[in-house]
C-alpha cells in the first residue's frame, strides 16, 4: 500500500503544473464560500461589539448610519452638528451621563477626537505610556498613531488645515502628546484624543492673543475709545498652547452653543434609557437618540442578504469546478491507460491501481484543505481591519 501512495505522490510531483492547477482550483472552490462567511461573520462581530458597547447616541436629526459610523469609527461623513447644550440637557435630566464627541478635525490623516476623560473610562482604554490629557492643547494618541508616526509623550502633533486655499479658515494648532493608549484592537488605536475645548480652539472658537489692555500690545491696537479696544491685523494669535500663554486663551460666546458631532449617552439602567429615548422621540427637539446596535443590525441585514447571493453564486461556481475536476481526473485515467496496463503486467493488483488513483485525489484534496485553512486564517486575521477600511470609505 505504501508503494501506491509513493507512486501517487511521485506522479503529482512529476506533473507539477497540472497538480498545482488542480490544487488551486479545489482550494479556491473551498475557500471562497468559507472566506465570504468568515469575512462577514468576523466583520459583523467587530462592528456589533463596539455598537453593543455603546448604549445610546445623541445627534442632530439626519442620517442615522452616518451618525453611528462617525461616532463609533470616527470615519464616514460628518453628521450634522449639535450644540454642547444638548449634552447639558442629557446630564440635567438626571437619567444618564453624557460623553461629548467632536470628530471634525484630523492630524496627518488620523481623526482628532475631541472628548472628555469619561470616554477613556467608558471604552476601558488604558495608558501604555505617559498620562491622560490634562491641559488645553494636550493630546493622547492611539497605539497605531504612535507607532505609525513614531511619536510618544513629549512629541508634538499638528492639526491639518481643512482646505489649503481657505486662508481665513481653520489654522493648524500644534498639540503636545502626553500619553499613548495601549492597543485595544479598536478604532481608538487610530485616533488622536484631545479635550473637546482643544478641538474648539482648532476651529478658532477659542484663541489666545496678547493682552490688549497691556502696554506691550500697543502695536496691535487700532483704537482705544470709551473702554473699547480695537485690534488691528498685527495682533499676534498663538498657534501653540504653552505654559506661558495658556492664560491668554479664551473662548468667545457661550460655550453651550459650541459644536459637537454626537453625545454618547450612558444610562445607568434600561428604564432610564427608555425614558430618555421617549423624551427625544418628538421632532420638536431637533435631536435623535439612536441605539447603535439597532442601526448596525439594519446595515448587517443588508450585508447578510448580499452575502447569501454571493454564496449562492459561489456554490454554483463550485459545482462547475467539481464537474471540471472530475472530468480532468476521468480524462487523465483515459490517458494513463497504458501506464496502468504496465503496472498490471508488473504484477500490480486492481486494488493497487485503485489505491494509486485514490491517493492522488486524496493528496490534492488534502493539499487543498491545508491551503484553504491557511487562507482562512489569513482572512480571519485581517477581516476586522478589512471591514474598517471599507467603513473608512
Amino acid at each position: 500500500m505504501t508503494g501506491a501512495f509513493f507512486l501517487g505522490w511521485r506522479y503529482l510531483r512529476y506533473h507539477r503544473l497540472k497538480s498545482l492547477v488542480l490544487l488551486a482550483s479545489v482550494s479556491l472552490m473551498m475557500f471562497l464560500p468559507t472566506a465570504t462567511r468568515l469575512l462577514v461573520a468576523d466583520s459583523a462581530t467587530a462592528l456589533t461589539a463596539r455598537a453593543q458597547a455603546t448604549p445610546l447616541l445623541l445627534g442632530e436629526r439626519g442620517g442615522e448610519l452616518e451618525l453611528v459610523l462617525n461616532s463609533l469609527y470616527f470615519h464616514a461623513e460628518q453628521p450634522p452638528q449639535l450644540p454642547y447644550s444638548a449634552l447639558d440637557d442629557v446630564e440635567d435630566s438626571g437619567l444618564a451621563d453624557g460623553i461629548p464627541l467632536y470628530t471634525r478635525f484630523r492630524s496627518r490623516g488620523a481623526p482628532i477626537v475631541g472628548t472628555s476623560l469619561d470616554y477613556f473610562e467608558f471604552r476601558n482604554l488604558q495608558l501604555a505610556d505617559g498620562r491622560m490629557m490634562g491641559l488645553l492643547g494636550e493630546a493622547v494618541v492611539g497605539a497605531n498613531v504612535a507607532s505609525e508616526q513614531g511619536i510618544g509623550p513629549g512629541n508634538n502633533l499638528v492639526s491639518s488645515p481643512e482646505t489649503v486655499f481657505d486662508l481665513a479658515g481653520v489654522y493648524p494648532l500644534k498639540m503636545r502628546v502626553v500619553g499613548v493608549l495601549a492597543r485595544s484592537g479598536s478604532p481608538d488605536d487610530d485616533a488622536v484624543f484631545v479635550d473637546v475645548r482643544t478641538a474648539w480652539v482648532i476651529q478658532g472658537l477659542g484663541h489666545g492673543h496678547e493682552d490688549l489692555a497691556q502696554g506691550k500690545s500697543s502695536g496691535s491696537v487700532l483704537s482705544r475709545a470709551q473702554g473699547t479696544i480695537t485690534a488691528n491685523a498685527a495682533l499676534k494669535q498663538f498657534n501653540e498652547i504653552t505654559a506661558e500663554n495658556i492664560r491668554d486663551f479664551h473662548f468667545h460666546g457661550d460655550t453651550s452653543g459650541f459644536p459637537l458631532s454626537a453625545v454618547i449617552i450612558v444610562p445607568p439602567d434600561d428604564k432610564s434609557a427608555t425614558l430618555l429615548r421617549g423624551r427625544y422621540q418628538n421632532h420638536e427637539s431637533g435631536y435623535q437618540v439612536l441605539v447603535p446596535g439597532e442601526v448596525l443590525d439594519g446595515l448587517l441585514e443588508t450585508v447578510f442578504t448580499i452575502q447569501n447571493y454571493i454564496i449562492l453564486g459561489l456554490m454554483m461556481l463550485s459545482l462547475a469546478t467539481i464537474a471540471v475536476v472530475t472530468l480532468v481526473f476521468l480524462l487523465s485515467q483515459q490517458l494513463r491507460r497504458g501506464e496502468f496496463m504496465t503496472l498490471k503486467r508488473m504484477g500490480a493488483s486492481r486494488g493497487f491501481v485503485a489505491t494509486l488513483i485514490a491517493s492522488e485525489i486524496g493528496f490534492v484534496l488534502l493539499g487543498s484543505l491545508v491551503m484553504t485553512a491557511i487562507l482562512s486564517w489569513v482572512t480571519r486575521h485581517y477581516a476586522t481591519e478589512f471591514l474598517l477600511s471599507l467603513v473608512a470609505l
Binding site: 488604558q126 495608558l127 505610556d129 491622560m132 491641559l135 485553512a373 480571519r380
Partner: protein, 306 residues
C-alpha cells in the same frame, strides 16, 4: 511531507487560540484614604477641619495667589487622581477652562448660592477679527471674606465629604457645627470693628474686598495697586483725584505695602492697614489666626485696640 502538514496544522491551531493582550496601567487609581484637593487655603482649612483625619486633604503647592494659579503639567496627575476637588467657584478657578478633569469629582462650593455672588462691573471691551465687540467679564471671587458665605461654603464641603465617605457623615456634621460657630463669632467680631467704619470713606488697594464691603456696608473704592510695587505717577494723581471726592483716611491692603508707599500715603493723610484675604497658606498660624490678625490691624489702624 507529513511533518510539514503537522507543522502547519499546529500553526493554524495556535493562530485560532490567539488572544488580544493589552498592557498598561488602569486609569483608576486606588488610594487607601480618599484624596481631596482644594483650590485655595480657606477651602483647605474648612475641609481639613470638617474631615478630620478620615480624608487626605491637600492643596497644590502654589507660589503666590491661588486665584492666579495655572496648573503645570506636573500638577495634572495629582488633580486627576483626586477623589474630590473642592473649588471656590465664582470664577476663582480660571484654570478650570484649561484643564481636563472628571467634572463629577468637582465640588463647587458656591454653586448653590449664585444669588449671593457679586459681578465685577469694570470689564474692558475689545474687538479684533469678525467677532465684534466683546469683553471677558467676571464675578468677584473672594467669597469667603463674608463669613456667612464662608459658612455656606463649609456646608457644601461637608455635604461633598459625606457623599464621599457616607459612614462619616455624622462626624462631618459635628465638626461642621463647630466650624460654623467659629465663623459666626468671626462675623460678630468683624461687625463690631467695621461698625465704626461704616460712615467713613475707605480705599482698597485691590478690588478683592467686595464681599466684605457688602456684608458690613462699607463705603469704599478700589484701586489696582500691588503691595510689592511702587505705584506710578499716574496712579498717585488718580489717588489724589479720588481722595478729593472720596476723602478716605484708611487704605486696606492685601499684604504689607512698601515702606516708601506707606510713608507717602501718610503724607496724604492716609493710613495703611493690611487685611489678608488668606488665599494661600499663611507662613504661621491658621485661617482664624490670620483673621484675628486682620482684626487687630484694623483696630490699630483705626486707633482703637481690640
Amino acid at each position: 511531507m507529513m511533518k510539514k502538514l503537522l507543522f502547519w496544522s499546529v500553526l493554524i491551531l495556535l493562530g485560532a487560540c490567539e488572544e488580544q493582550v493589552t498592557d498598561g496601567s488602569r486609569l483608576d487609581d486606588h488610594v487607601s484614604k480618599p484624596l481631596v484637593l482644594t483650590s485655595n487655603y480657606p477651602l483647605y482649612y474648612f475641609a481639613s477641619e470638617i474631615a478630620g483625619d478620615v480624608v487626605n486633604v491637600q492643596m497644590p503647592d502654589i507660589d503666590g495667589d491661588p486665584a492666579m494659579w495655572v496648573p503645570g503639567a506636573a500638577d495634572i496627575p495629582q488633580l486627576q487622581a483626586a477623589d474630590l476637588i473642592v473649588i471656590n467657584g465664582a470664577g476663582y478657578e480660571s484654570w478650570l477652562a484649561f484643564t481636563s478633569l472628571d467634572t463629577d469629582r468637582l465640588l463647587d462650593t458656591t454653586e448653590d448660592i449664585q444669588d449671593l455672588l457679586l459681578p465685577i462691573e469694570s470689564a474692558t471691551l475689545h474687538q479684533h477679527g469678525p467677532e465684534g465687540e466683546h469683553s471677558h467679564e467676571s464675578i468677584a471671587f473672594t467669597t469667603w471674606l463674608d463669613p456667612q458665605i464662608a459658612i455656606e461654603q463649609a456646608g457644601a464641603i461637608a455635604r461633598g465629604l459625606s457623599a464621599l465617605v457616607p459612614a462619616q457623615a455624622e462626624a462631618f456634621e459635628t465638626r461642621l457645627a463647630l466650624l460654623e460657630k467659629r465663623l459666626d463669632e468671626l462675623d460678630g467680631s468683624f461687625e463690631q470693628v467695621f461698625t465704626n467704619l461704616k460712615n467713613q470713606p475707605l480705599v482698597f488697594s485691590h478690588p478683592i474686598y467686595q464681599y466684605l464691603q457688602k456684608r458690613y456696608g462699607l463705603n469704599a473704592r478700589s484701586l489696582h495697586w500691588e503691595p510689592e510695587t511702587e505705584p506710578g505717577t499716574r496712579d498717585w494723581i488718580d489717588l489724589g483725584n479720588l481722595l478729593r471726592e472720596h476723602p478716605a483716611k484708611l487704605m486696606i491692603w492685601e499684604a504689607t505695602p512698601l515702606d516708601t508707599v506707606r510713608e507717602k500715603l501718610v503724607h496724604m493723610g492716609v493710613r495703611s492697614v493690611t487685611f489678608s484675604p488668606a488665599g494661600n497658606q499663611p507662613d504661621q498660624g491658621d485661617y482664624f489666626m490670620v483673621m484675628k490678625d486682620n482684626l487687630l490691624q484694623l483696630s490699630v489702624g483705626m486707633g482703637q485696640k481690640q
